[in-house]
Symmetry: C2
Subunit: 195 residues, 2 copies
């Protein structure tokens, strides 16, 4: 008979960075280009804070191919040998064509569809506080998916589909909150998982 | 007689990103190249969290000249017209030759030499907690300077000169903490000034 201690498995949290559908500065829905440092910085932050998988989402096949090449360089190519911690970070990065594919993929991995959390610098409705989400992440048995938008943020269609939204990250009293998505991801993960 | 309410001025906090003296992966002291997104991301985070000035520090004249060109594009050139929030972020960025110049500059602006806080992913000595520093930032009347290193982090000579160090940012229990300096800056500022 086993005397092993039963440890409740922490529900997995996933992260998606969308390049479509996102807004441009005129609030039009557009597709943005993948930025190399979005791959690196967010992979490193995701690994640091224990994110199960980091999905880079773009409908453009040539961009997906480029991202795959970059991922493979750091996972298996010269980069993997040169920088072991980067290889480790890249082991959890994948690229997908659209948001639906990400949700299906998580459903298959985790055995349940994820609860989706939208993020953005101007979200006001359906908010869950960082403290509430931190608690829910530890207590529940549902996988969670944090969704970040490039450009000027997630299109309304994605926010409307989310189960809830995190409040915008604010720093000071004057309301300026124009962080890069790389910085916003780091701050949100630290608020949810930092110690 | 004035009936104005007297409000205690919040002591100013400054930030410096050093490209020398910093370490490479073999712990040798080197000079790193300036990365364009270090200018942008940290300028935006510094402005979001109310940092008085963000100093980019490099001993290489050609790099300082390049940084000045980039700053001017976003402060006065086409970039300033295209993106007002970026112009606002860049209004607090300056470039200096070395760490001594930064300390002198702050001394002249603030009327007092700054207390220096080192940051890094492996610092262990002379630590001040985020909570203690957050309190000190509000209560004291001394300017503070947060110092971040590029490459593999600040050289020992800078850490030894600092008045104290912040503990490494950690995310999970397995100790992996290889954030980019851009992400680390955002997390540290959020822990000190976020609301």
């Amino acid at each position: 008979m086993s005397r092993g201690i039963i440890v409740a498995a922490q529900p997995e949290c996933y992260l998606a960075l969308l390049h479509y559908p996102v807004l441009n500065k005129h609030r039009q829905v557009v597709t943005t280009a993948v930025a190399n440092l979005d791959i690196h910085d967010i992979a490193r932050a995701a690994r640091t804070y224990g994110i199960a998988h980091y999905y880079i989402v773009t409908p453009i096949a040539a961009q997906r191919s480029l991202v795959e090449t970059i991922i493979n360089h750091w996972r298996r190519g010269y980069g993997a040998e040169y920088n072991h911690s980067r290889r480790e970070a890249f082991s959890r990065v994948c690229v997908r064509e659209d948001f639906e594919q990400v949700c299906r993929d998580i459903g298959e991995r985790a055995g349940k569809k994820p609860r989706v959390v939208a993020t953005g610098a101007a979200l006001e409705k359906g908010l869950i506080s960082y403290g509430e989400l931190r608690k829910a992440l530890v207590e529940g048995d549902t996988p969670w998916l944090l969704v970040f938008g490039t450009g000027w943020g997630l299109a309304d269609s994605i926010v409307a589909r989310a189960d809830c939204s995190l409040p915008p990250v604010r720093g000071g009293s004057d309301g300026y909150n124009h962080l890069s998505v790389r910085s916003a991801v780091a701050v949100v993960l630290d608020r949810l998982f930092g110690c």
